[in-house]
Amino acid sequence: MTATPASRRGGHLPRRLSAAFWFAVPFVALAVIWAIAVELSGVERRIFPQVTDVASAFAEMWRSGDLFTHTGASLRRMGLGVIAALLTGIPFGVLLGSSRVAAAFFAPLLRFSVALAGIAWIPFATLWLGYGERAVVFIVWNAMFFALAYNTMLGVQRIPTQLIRAARSMGTPRHRMFVEVLLPGALPNIVTGLRVGLGYGWRGLVAAEIIAASAGLGYSIFLAQKYFRTDIIIAGMIIIGALWLVIDRALLAPLERRTVERWGMKAVNL
């Protein structure tokens, strides 16, 4: 029932190294196949670059500082959108989960909106907020909000009635129920919503930057296409994917480990 902390945290250094190794193997394999395929097919470099071209594009972006400008811009917008989504989506979800009528009314709308969240709102975002920072942040917020609110609502609904009763019978005032019971009780589902929402948000960010920004990772790959710099496009794609892995592993996984896993509440879903 309770795994030892060492095995949960990845354990000793050799085991962590071996985990990192096996995580890297498929990517190395992909790079090898890519290099061979480009070499054998003789495809024009402007159409699809060789591995070494992408590596030098990286180096070029590093030296010129573009790498940091674009990554910084993207992460800043992402951060703002995520904070806005957390501050709005979680309270809204808790509110819905606390009221049967509200939940019954809003649940179909939320499920409908999850499908449209983010990218489909770009036209409105630019119409209302113009081409720039605010539209991109809006898209990140919008992409995350519905998934986060919907999952939070589910989480609150799944808190056993007896837990809420126990809290009430121990004198918990209504205004403290949110922090003391509803939020921690719904956390397994909130984490699920966060994971799904961050995925939508990240993709929404890239798409919005292609259309509505003058800096950022999405913008950089879009701009590169104009100049047939496929090496930069691929480098940008790699950064986007790698940053997502970092967000998932460095933020979500530790959050899960310290809360729902530690409390024995890990939801069996996905």
């Binding site: 029932m1 049967r100 808190i159 126990a166 809290a167 004198g171 005032p173 024995g264």
Partner: protein, 277 residues
């Protein structure tokens, strides 16, 4: 002094599926003295948990009154602490966090509440487990924590809803014995709901027998057993056996036709599942 007084309690609800009015509690009256242990015994589905839920303030009666310390019950309150069958511990709180929860809600300073918590954790034999989380404890330990969590608030009455029904038979015996020990040292007032005749008799000063739905008080039986009590001596005691036999017969007579609807829900889906948050 009467700590709990239930008079002509009556509860009806409308069944969500059939739309019919169901009488869950017919007419129930009894009282519990301060420092008394009363078991409420009845067949499954007789409405005994509904009575407890009304006393706890989770549910409201259709008519009749419930007085605790002379005051009308109005919603849940720490003066009526509840030990649940499902334990209902907070998974995100440590053992210490669970025990101090009620005190914290009432603004007791940290040092004071931790002192109280340690005293009650020791009482239930959980000293040394303060930093564990509930899922790391066995079922028996979890329910001991459930008891400590309620007693730490020093309630006027401790309400226990079939608290040992979800632990294995050996652990149950042990917990029952521990509960009598705690009762004998602390003398809380206890309202204990069960459908287990042996358990009702072993623990209680008096046993309130409810008839099947719509429930009424069939009889109130005083248990002629000295304290302290232990299972070994109780089982050999003719008074214990007599009381158990008497109550078993009483329950059998009250049963309409040995219809074993064991897990019949005690509160309706309609009444029991309404969200409270």
């Amino acid at each position: 002094m009467r700590t709990l007084e239930i008079s002509n309690l009556h509860k009806e609800f409308v069944d969500a599926y059939t739309g019919q009015t169901v009488v869950a509690v017919g007419d129930v009256s009894f009282s519990i003295e301060q420092g008394e242990f009363v078991s409420v015994l009845g067949p499954s589905g007789c409405g005994k948990t509904t009575v407890l839920n009304i006393v706890a303030g989770f549910d409201t009666q259709t008519s009749g009154s419930v007085l605790v310390g002379g005051k009308q019950v109005d919603g849940p309150s720490p003066e009526r602490g509840v030990v649940f069958q499902s334990f209902a511990l907070f998974p995100w709180k440590t053992v210490l966090g669970n025990v101090t929860f009620g005190l914290r809600m009432r603004g007791v300073p940290r040092a004071d509440r931790e002192a109280v918590a340690h005293q009650y954790l020791e009482l239930v034999g959980l000293q040394g487990f303060e930093a564990k989380y509930p899922h790391e404890l066995s079922g028996g330990m979890q329910q001991r924590l459930g008891v400590a969590r309620v007693l730490a608030n020093e309630p006027e009455v401790m309400l226990m809803d079939e608290p040992f029904a979800s632990v294995d038979a050996q652990t149950r015996r042990k917990l029952q014995e521990e509960l009598t020990g705690i009762f004998e040292t602390k003398r809380p007032t206890v309202f204990f709901v069960t459908h287990d005749v042996d358990e009702a008799v072993f623990l209680a000063d008096r046993v309130v027998v409810l008839s099947s739905r719509p429930s009424q008080v069939a009889e109130i039986v005083t248990v002629p057993l000295e304290r302290p009590r232990h299972w070994r001596s109780a089982l050999d005691n003719p008074d214990f056996r007599h009381t158990v036999t008497y109550l078993t017969d009483l329950l059998a007579a009250g049963e309409p036709n040995a219809d074993e609807s064991e897990d019949a829900p005690e509160t309706s889906a309609a009444a029991g599942a309404v969200g409270e948050g």
